[in-house]
């Protein structure tokens, strides 16, 4: 059964109530929720290089329709994000059904479909003053501390505070965002308070970021966010031994202390 038929079958037989995929609109593949009421639309379902956080749509939909079963296209990054969302109790794993679509290249499959396989090659000025988006964390760590600060500050001060990184993020689900709290972040000035604005987001990404790269793809100012969050997650992995996206437990920052090992017992009386 091909993809279209599977989706049609799922919708017809009630396996899923809504299916999130992509539909060609004026030649652009855009995220779309396919439903039983409009089955004819399923003929237009496509998968392509374009990526949108479909699991974010699923989370929104699930918050208003907790009983509904949801189907969606899933790449590897979507799968990790779904895992994180389940761990954080934003979705229930038994109400989600996925259809795999082609994504990152691997030794077994050379052909890849993703809008952001490689970051752009950095220009001369960025190489001299900033941090290349395609750099490895180890390369960056080798820089002298003063230079590191200067380079990060160059990257951060470009920020136009569009919140694009947060809005596209598949694992950003908080109803209240500390980056929008008027007492924590000043309004009406650009750049935002650097570097704290970006470091707050980086800290919130610790144990959550699934390294999908959508933030960097969305960033109009080309800030190497993916590199920063990748480093943050590497620290989480080294220090706490927590693997984001695959672990079944809550991330370490949501745990207030070590697990209790002593059991309460009555005082001994002499």
């Amino acid at each position: 059964m091909d993809r279209t038929q599977t989706v049609r079958h799922w919708l017809e037989t009630g396996v899923v109530d809504i299916f999130f995929g992509y539909r060609l609109v004026e030649g652009h593949p855009l995220p779309h929720g396919f439903t039983r009421d409009k089955l004819s639309e399923v003929e237009e379902i496509v998968d392509s290089e374009s990526r949108y956080p479909l699991e974010q749509l699923a989370t929104h939909f699930s918050s208003s329709h907790p009983e509904a079963t949801i189907g969606m296209f899933a790449r590897d990054c979507n799968r990790r994000a779904l895992n994180v969302l389940v761990v954080w109790n934003q979705l229930q794993s038994d109400t989600i059904k996925t259809i795999d679509i082609n994504c990152c290249p691997s030794p077994l499959k050379k052909h890849a479909d993703c809008s952001y396989l490689e970051p752009e090659q950095p220009g001369n000025f960025k190489l001299r003053a900033g941090i290349a988006n395609n750099a490895e964390t180890q390369e960056v760590e080798e820089l002298d501390q003063q230079e590191l600060l200067s380079r990060w500050m160059y990257e951060f001060q470009k920020c136009i505070k569009c919140y694009g990184c947060r809005n596209i993020c598949p694992v950003c689900f908080c109803r209240e965002c500390s980056l929008e709290h008027p007492d924590l972040v000043h309004t009406g000035r650009l750049p935002p308070e650097v570097p704290i604005f970006h470091l707050v987001r980086a800290t919130h990404m610790a144990g959550r970021c699934v390294d999908c790269g959508l933030c960097e793809e969305a960033c109009p100012m080309d800030i190497p966010l993916r590199l920063l969050y990748r480093k943050v997650n590497r620290i989480v992995s080294d220090v706490f031994g927590y693997d984001t996206g695959t672990s079944q437990e809550q991330p370490p920052f949501s745990v207030l202390g070590e697990k209790v090992t002593l059991t309460p017992k009555p005082l001994e009386t002499s």
Partner: protein
Amino acid sequence: MTIKRVTFLQELLSFMGLKDRLHLSWISSAEAGKFVQVINDFTEKIRAMGPNPLKGYDLRPWLERLRPPDNIEKTDAAQVPSEEPEMLLIR
């Protein structure tokens, strides 16, 4: 857990270029001598490193390069305020 969290922050700050500026020690209320020692050592360490580079960090050199050259004719819509806006300096 605390030591892990602080280690996380130390590593993150070190990735930003602010290494060794966060310190964690366990001191009991009975260990006055240790308290004095830790505070003195850390004070000396920070004094040797100099003030926080972010204090008064000047973004002007960076922002200057982003500004369009003066010889471009400015229309009314794109009027740039003549005085230097306050936002350029981090306090």
